[in-house]
C-alpha cells in the first residue's frame, strides 16, 4: 500500500526535521562504530570457534600456529621502513597534560612549531588511550609531523598546504586505525598525499 493520498499529513508534519548533525557528533559515532566493528568481529570469530569440536580445534590450532610461524619468518625477512625517529614528544605531552588536566586534545609538532589543542569542556582522559601519529616522507627516517592525542579525538594537520583531518582509534586488539573524512587508514594504507606515510602506535602510560 503506497501513500499518495497522505500529502496533507506530510505537509502538517513537514517541520519535524532535525537540524543537521554536527561534524563532531557524526565523526564520534563513526569512530565508535568502527571500534565496535573490530570488537564484534573478534567476538563473532571466537563464538564461532566455540561450536567446533575439540579435535577440530586442536588441528586448527596446530595449522594456525604453523602458518603464524611461516608468516612471522617471512615478515622478518621483508625489507620494511622503521618507524620514523622522534625527538621525544612523549615527556612534553606528559607535562602539558599535567597543565591542562582533562582538557588536552592533542599536541602537534611540525616545522611550523608546537601546537597545543585544548578543549573548552573538560573530558575525562585515560593514559592508556594515548596514541602517537608520525607523518613522514616515504623513506625518511625522521618525522615531519608528530602528533600525540587520545583515541577518538579529531586532529587536523596541514600537509603541503592541504588540511588532513583524522580521528585515530585504538582497536580491540591493541592496534590503531585512523579514520579520515573519506577513508579508513591502517598502518600501511596509502595517504591522500603521495610520497607520505603515516606511522601510528598506541602509547602506554610508561612510554612517557
Amino acid at each position: 500500500m503506497k501513500n499518495s493520498h497522505d500529502d496533507p499529513w506530510r505537509d502538517a508534519l513537514a517541520h519535524l526535521q532535525p537540524a543537521p548533525c554536527s561534524d563532531e557528533a557524526r565523526d564520534r559515532a563513526l569512530a565508535l562504530s568502527l571500534a565496535a566493528l573490530c570488537d564484534g568481529m573478534r567476538d563473532h570469530r571466537s563464538s564461532s570457534s566455540d561450536g567446533e569440536s575439540h579435535a577440530a580445534r586442536t588441528v586448527w590450532w596446530w595449522l594456525a600456529a604453523a602458518a603464524a610461524c611461516i608468516v612471522a619468518v617471512s615478515l622478518s625477512l621483508l625489507p620494511r621502513g622503521p618507524a620514523p625517529k622522534t625527538d621525544g614528544l612523549g615527556p612534553v605531552f606528559g607535562q602539558i597534560e599535567a597543565l591542562f588536566p582533562n582538557q588536552l586534545d592533542s599536541v602537534i609538532v611540525s616545522a611550523a612549531g608546537v601546537t597545543v589543542n585544548t578543549s573548552d569542556t573538560p573530558t575525562t582522559t585515560y593514559a592508556d588511550q594515548r596514541i602517537r601519529l608520525l607523518l613522514s616522507k616515504a623513506g625518511s627516517t625522521t618525522a615531519d609531523v608528530q602528533i600525540v592525542t587520545y583515541s577518538g579525538r579529531r586532529v587536523c594537520v596541514n600537509v603541503r598546504g592541504d588540511d588532513l583531518c583524522m580521528t585515530p582509534l585504538l582497536t580491540g586488539d591493541g592496534g590503531v586505525m585512523v579514520v579520515t573524512d573519506t577513508q579508513v587508514l591502517g598502518q600501511d594504507s596509502p595517504l591522500p598525499f603521495p610520497g607520505y606515510r603515516l606511522h601510528m602506535s598506541p602509547m602506554k602510560g610508561d612510554a612517557l
Binding site: 497522505d6 502538517a12 508534519l13 559515532a29 570488537d39 568481529m41 563473532h44 586505525m177 579514520v179
Partner: protein, 179 residues
C-alpha cells in the same frame, strides 16, 4: 539513502565489512546515518537524543554485523535496531518531556497561520501525543513515504499492524494538526 546503480550494494559492503574492511562499514555509515538520525528524531523528538540513538544504533549494528544473515536486508535490520534503541531511550529518559513542555507552551493557538518555528513546535507536540510505536509508523509511512509493507519490514511487525498504527495515529493527529 539507498545506493544508486553504480554504488556497491549493501550486501557487498556488509560482506566486505565482515571480511575486515572497516572502510566498507564506513560507507554504510555514510549511506544511512542521516536517515537513521532523522528517523530517531521523529521518534524521540529531541536532536541530542537522536544523535545518541543514531550512534547507539550504528555501534550495535557494527557489533552484531556477524549475525546478519542477509546483507541485502541491512537497511531494514538497521531500522529495527534504531527503533529498539529509540524505545529504550524513551523508556529511560525524561529529558524529552521537559523540552516538549517548553515547545507546547510556546505553541500559538489563535487561529492564524503560525510562523515556521511554531508549526514545528505544533508538529512536535502532536507527535508527542502518540505512543512510540505509532511515531515509528508515522515517520516511515507518512513522512518517508514507505509502503506499509516496507515499514513493517523495517519495524519487524506485520503489515496489518503498521496499518492499524497509522489509522490510530491519524485519528490523534487530526485533532492537533488538521484545522
Amino acid at each position: 539513502m539507498p545506493p544508486n546503480d553504480d554504488a556497491p550494494s549493501d550486501a557487498s559492503l556488509v560482506q566486505h565489512a565482515l571480511d575486515g574492511e572497516a572502510a566498507a562499514f564506513a560507507t554504510l555509515f555514510g549511506r544511512y546515518h542521516g536517515a537513521i538520525r532523522q528517523f530517531a528524531y521523529r521518534v524521540v523528538l529531541d536532536e541530542h537524543a537522536a544523535d545518541d540513538v543514531a550512534q547507539e544504533s550504528f555501534i550495535t549494528a557494527a557489533r552484531r554485523l556477524g549475525s546478519l544473515r542477509d546483507g541485502q536486508a541491512f537497511a531494514a535490520w538497521l531500522y529495527r535496531i534504531a527503533a529498539n534503541a529509540a524505545r529504550t531511550h524513551l523508556r529511560s529518559s525524561r529529558a524529552h518531556e521537559r523540552k516538549l513542555a517548553a515547545a507546547v507552551a510556546g505553541c500559538a493557538d489563535d487561529g492564524e497561520t503560525p510562523p515556521p518555528d511554531e508549526r514545528a513546535a505544533r508538529a512536535l507536540a502532536a507527535m508527542d501525543g502518540l505512543p512510540a510505536k505509532q511515531r515509528e509508523a508515522v515517520a516511515l509511512v507518512l513522512l518517508d513515504d514507505l509502503s506499509h509493507a516496507e515499514a513493517a519490514r523495517r519495524l519487524g511487525c506485520a503489515e496489518s499492524t503498521v496499518s492499524w498504527r497509522i489509522f490510530c495515529a491519524k485519528r490523534t493527529l487530526r485533532r492537533k494538526l488538521i484545522p
